[in-house]
Symmetry: C2
């Protein structure tokens, strides 16, 4: 998985920190998570092709997480995109955005479909052959959810010389790739492990923003390869964090630690911090060492 | 007048050319002209204070001229602005934007008023003690107008020693500032010119975008101190310009030349040009020497 940060600021965009948006590449597919103002500008600055972007997931309907949608959709239309676009979001978004699409994006060569989600449930909202996406209920001022992206385990890789040695018929290959043993005509069994090696490991990425400290997410995000958890505030602003249903650095670290995630990325920084990627990260690392700070245009691979 | 370019790209924003937006400072007042996506980001990057921004003028309802409004309004609300904001635009904008303001900008400390304009008329749409703004009908795919900003001539400056010499009573001062002569008790007249010097000269700025070549604007913008005229395309793309109701470099220069404007700024560049501020300007200057190319964050004073 390859995660590109398009914006890691919070409500007030800053000169170098745009509003929330991320792009997750899973295999050949692109998924956008949130789409704050300027997301399409970041895509352009990073020269990212969007032909394979078909699904956008919106965590909640605060403007800093969705004001970039209409501009992105409009631009995709002008660029001649033909593949349909699916927007997974709270049902209200369709009512707000469809009139704008109807007015500003006439004669678009593709369609936009809204797929309403229930931010209070932990359920699968998208699944195909290689990826599964489910919602993670969060605790925020308005209904808000994170997203868990699970890449499915890849098919097992065949070992050519072993197949030849044991004279495995070609028509059996697809069964071996799925992990089955090879049963010879005489009834003897060659274990799958002798004929194949492990396929692509299943990776998991969890996006949790915006949210107050919320223990209930721990079992859902347990042991993910990478967790993005908002850390809008430093620990000194814990009262403000609670009032605004956001998290502090220590809270993000505690969630990461108790969920035994492999890597933590913090972001969604309050505009009050001049260098959050240093100031806030310094508060997280002592509690959860394998932590990183999002910055606009940064790329993380896991 | 001081003009700051917030975005000088056209429909497709580029890495360094955001969608259309400008800020015009007239005395102490700020006026925004168009508000493409990212306008608020540019304001932030330029550290421009927005307390004195009370009027926004939208030329037409293509997304690249207005998608930045909702983000800007939302941010102004969060920053605690209290002065009301007036948006002068085609009547449709209110229908499109008000539902978004109602949903995303609850509990705002100021109000947004929509002032519908008729883009087909050349008429005054705003006037106060120091500035007058009127519409300039343009020729585009949808109703579109430019804006003429006229700073009113400042009051004449009093010459203290002359006032003393001619023993002008203080209560006459305000008449002298308005240009009247001083009539003494014996009926003799001291001409105003002997007692005052010229006040601030009246400056005029015309914004003309988006538009095809359109001669009818010439009498309206005659002899303005500064003309912004779109030059979306190079002359070689004249056919494409006509199809899309945009102008070429030569057409912008011809309008500037025939209107005898003092200075021309081109902008609204098509994304096809890598360095429009050079490529397109090179085609304009031979025809109208006092020409400049807009670039994002550039400032022009006149």
């Amino acid at each position: 998985m390859k995660l590109t940060i398009l914006g890691c600021g919070s409500a007030l965009p800053k000169a170098n920190y745009y509003n929330a948006s991320q792009l997750l590449q899973v295999g050949e597919k692109l998924f956008m998570i949130d789409c704050g103002e300027g997301a399409q500008i970041r895509l352009r600055q990073l020269r990212i092709k969007t032909a394979r972007l078909n699904h956008i997931f919106i965590s909640h309907l605060h403007g800093d997480h969705c004001f970039g949608l209409i501009g992105l959709i409009s631009t995709l239309g002008m660029m001649g995109r033909t593949g349909n676009l699916y927007i997974h979001a709270h049902a209200d978004l369709e009512k707000l955005l469809q009139p704008q699409i109807d007015y500003f994006c006439r004669e678009m060569p593709f369609q936009v479909f809204f797929s309403p989600l229930n931010p209070r449930a932990n359920e699968v909202i998208f699944e195909d052959k290689t990826v599964r996406v489910s919602t993670i209920p969060l605790k925020h001022g308005i209904p808000s959810c994170g997203f868990l992206f699970e890449q499915k385990e890849g098919e097992r890789h065949l070992i050519r010389e072993k197949l030849d040695f044991y004279q495995v018929p070609v028509k059996q290959y697809h069964l071996l790739k799925k992990g089955e043993d090879f049963v010879r005509e005489d009834g003897s069994i060659i274990p799958n492990k002798k004929l194949t090696t492990d396929g692509r490991p299943a990776k998991r990425y969890a996006y949790c923003s915006d949210t107050a400290f919320y223990e209930k997410i721990i079992p859902i995000i347990k042991e993910v390869d990478c967790l993005f958890h908002e850390a809008t505030f430093a620990q000194a602003a814990a009262v403000r964090a609670k009032e605004t249903f956001h998290s502090t650095t220590h809270q993000a670290a505690e969630i990461a630690s108790r969920a035994h995630v492999k890597q933590l990325i913090i972001g969604h920084y309050s505009a009050r911090y001049d260098a959050p990627e240093r100031e806030l990260l310094d508060e997280v690392r002592p509690l959860f060492p394998n932590s990183y700070a999002a910055t606009d245009c940064a790329v993380f691979e896991f």
